[in-house]
């Protein structure tokens, strides 16, 4: 069925198709349509929607539902995302899979709630206290809001981690005609749940791709935000502190090969645009304009996953590039990641726009 949908709606539909049955959130522009859609649709499929007193309550409530075995999600924007950082740290430490959608708007502080921005790229990566990796996906179209939400659910379940979906206001509010699949491929644990006596919630064998126990299943599990042993109980022994942080890092490091998600065209070209989100739409148009006018090919490399940053893949893919353009709706947050990844003889150009307006193809053409 072809439908005219916004990115926010497609994201909410993706969540339901991926089996999300719990949403706890707090109203915030420009993400509120996700909450509104799920407030209507989740009870129809036996799920639960709750509007909490703030974003801290929202993420902690979601962590509770996840610990009790539901696939859960929340959606927010910059200031709310900041309030959630404490709880995201808890999701990481207690290894609770969940989805946090951040429809980015301009900041800092209340900033420009109704205008677009890509200024939370670094907040997504480093916003939480402590030392740990994170996974953040970044759609550029209405269809991708659906696809990457489904993908986020699968990644979070497989790796037992929170996954961030970074949309920007344009992607969230933009409407496109799409045809969404009724059935989506969902990750199912291959292993059955182990017997209680042999079960350790944080055993090395169940760091990822494992069947995990929840509250109410007779396992009598203990979850804590303290550094814990494999049985979940707190410790401050140096070797276990390190084991714990290595375990969190291994979730990402061991799975980089299938995690990395990017899309590219004409990478043999001398000039390549590295882009993401709605700025990638302008980049695509800029590529066509330059190619039409000058006849020379322009490469494009679009990141669908910003974190973990695909450094090794970029080194390979940008082998023949001499000039890399990084257009962003911020003051060059991902530009620095690209700059420190590519060879010294490649010039990396940051194209920035941070006045709340969309980055235009003409601005990127001027940089090319």
């Amino acid at each position: 069925m072809r439908q005219l949908l916004s990115g926010n709606e497609a994201c909410a539909i993706g969540a339901i198709r991926a089996g999300v049955r719990f949403f706890a959130g707090y109203p915030i522009t420009p993400s509120t349509e996700i909450a509104e859609y799920l407030a209507r649709e989740l009870p129809r499929v036996g799920g639960t929607f709750i509007q909490m007193e703030d974003e801290i309550g929202s993420i902690c409530c979601m962590n509770g539902a996840t610990a009790a075995g539901l696939k859960a999600m929340t959606a927010t924007s910059g200031p709310g995302f900041s309030l959630m950082q404490e709880g995201i740290g808890y999701s990481v430490m207690a290894e609770l899979p969940c989805i946090i959608v951040n429809v980015m708007r301009g900041g800092p502080a209340t900033g420009t709630p109704t205008r677009t921005s890509q200024a939370d790229v670094m907040q997504a990566r480093y916003g939480t206290h402590g030392d740990h990796p994170i996974v953040a996906l970044c759609p550029w179209s209405v269809r991708e809001c659906f696809d990457l939400t489904v993908e986020a659910v699968n990644i979070s379940e497989r790796l037992r981690i929170p996954v961030i979906v970074l949309m920007d206001e344009i992607v969230g509010h933009m409407r496109e005609v799409v045809e969404l699949p009724e059935e989506v491929k969902l990750w199912q644990p291959a292993k059955p749940k182990p017997v209680r006596e042999e079960y350790y919630h944080y055993d090395d064998t169940n760091n990822y791709d494992a069947a995990i126990a929840s509250f109410g299943e007779g396992y009598r599990i203990h979850l804590t935000g303290l550094t814990h042993r494999k049985d979940g109980f707190p410790t401050d022994e140096p070797e276990i502190i390190k084991w714990n942080l290595d375990r969190l890092r291994a979730k990402i490091e061991d799975n980089r090969s299938w995690l990395w998600d990017l899309d590219y065209q004409d990478l043999g070209s001398e000039t390549v645009i590295v882009c993401y989100g709605s700025a990638a739409r302008s980049a695509m148009e800029a590529k066509h304009q330059v190619e039409l006018k000058t006849g020379r090919r322009i490469g494009i490399l679009r990141l669908r996953m910003l974190w973990p940053f695909p450094s090794q893949r970029l080194i390979g893919l940008l082998r023949s590039a001499r000039r890399v353009i990084v257009p962003e709706m911020n003051q060059g947050q991902l530009y620095r990641e690209v700059e420190r990844t590519v060879n010294l003889n490649v010039s990396v150009v940051s194209v920035q726009r941070y006045d709340g307006e969309m980055l235009t193809p003409e601005e990127i053409v001027a940089a090319i």
């Binding site: 719990f22 639960t48 509770g64 808890y90 509250f215 009598r220 203990h222 804590t224």
Partner: protein, 274 residues
């Protein structure tokens, strides 16, 4: 009363590696933990249908010692986490335990809103008038003028009445007891556990290490005597909400039950499907 054998009592704890506990000698939290477990046993609450949830602080370490599903969450965030657990698995008995700093300060907003929503959760607020884990700072329940490590010249803030706020925010059942009145405390916890909807038991507890020392009350025994002499039963006072210099103990509020959130949300699901 059902006779609780020592075996049944000990089986409720994670005895293998979790003891000795981290509490100071003379702390009241152990009394509360033991009394709570005796209440669970007397009411026949199974370890496999119970989830005990806490935030951060001395009393928030209690769940780690209990052999059931336990959830040691972030500072102040036990109630939103408990809300998530209860909504996901309404069949679980959900009990929250936390201190005056955890539940009334950093978690104060969550406390009033969870009461307002009427989640079917029992909250045990261990009120020792101080932040014990961090070394004796003043809390929202520290009386005015009293000294604390962060109020060396006396506390200028007014203090919260935990029970009054719980009642005002919409709790179905509110009671107060102390660590001196153990049989009374057990009765209050049992009444709270049996009440459908949001129920609160405030337990005045001794912290000899910090509060007792800062106020010059003395050691644990002196503090228990202090709790005894300062307490008055609710039946002995004309208006429990007007008593300022005593701990009024007993059932302070017990209203006719209204459907808890989980039942109301089930009707939302039915309306949504029509």
């Amino acid at each position: 009363m059902i006779d609780i054998t020592q075996d049944r009592f000990l089986n409720f704890f994670r005895l293998d590696e979790r003891f000795p506990h981290i509490l100071c000698p003379g702390c009241g939290i152990g009394t509360i933990m033991g009394t709570m477990v005796r209440a669970f046993l007397d009411l026949g609450i199974s370890q496999d249908e119970l989830c005990v949830i806490s935030g951060i602080g001395c009393s928030s370490r209690v769940p780690g010692y209990l052999d059931c599903d336990t959830f040691h969450t972030l500072h102040g965030r036990a109630l939103p986490a408990a809300t998530g657990v209860k909504l996901a698995k309404p069949e679980l008995k959900v009990v929250v335990i936390g201190g005056d700093g955890d539940i009334m300060a950093i978690g104060g907003n969550h406390f009033i809103h969870t009461a307002r929503r009427n989640l079917d959760i029992t909250v045990i607020v261990v009120n020792n008038f101080t932040y014990g884990m961090t070394g004796g700072q003043y809390s929202p329940t520290t009386p005015t003028h009293e000294k604390a490590s962060t109020a060396p010249f006396g506390n200028v803030e007014r203090s919260f009445d935990v029970c009054f706020i719980a009642k005002a925010a919409g709790a179905m059942f509110v009671a107060r007891s102390t660590t001196f009145h153990v049989a009374h405390l057990k009765k209050m916890i049992e009444l709270a556990l049996n009440k459908k909807g949001f129920s609160v038991v405030e337990v005045i507890s001794q912290c000899p290490t910090f509060y007792g020392r800062y106020q010059g009350i003395g050691d644990a025994v002196k503090m228990l005597e202090w709790l005894k002499s300062r307490s008055v039963d609710v039946s002995k006072v004309p208006d429990p909400w007007q008593v300022k210099d005593r701990f009024v103990i007993g059932v302070l509020h017990d209203q006719q039950e209204v459907p808890p959130y989980t039942e109301l949300y089930q009707s939302v699901r039915e309306r949504a499907r029509e």
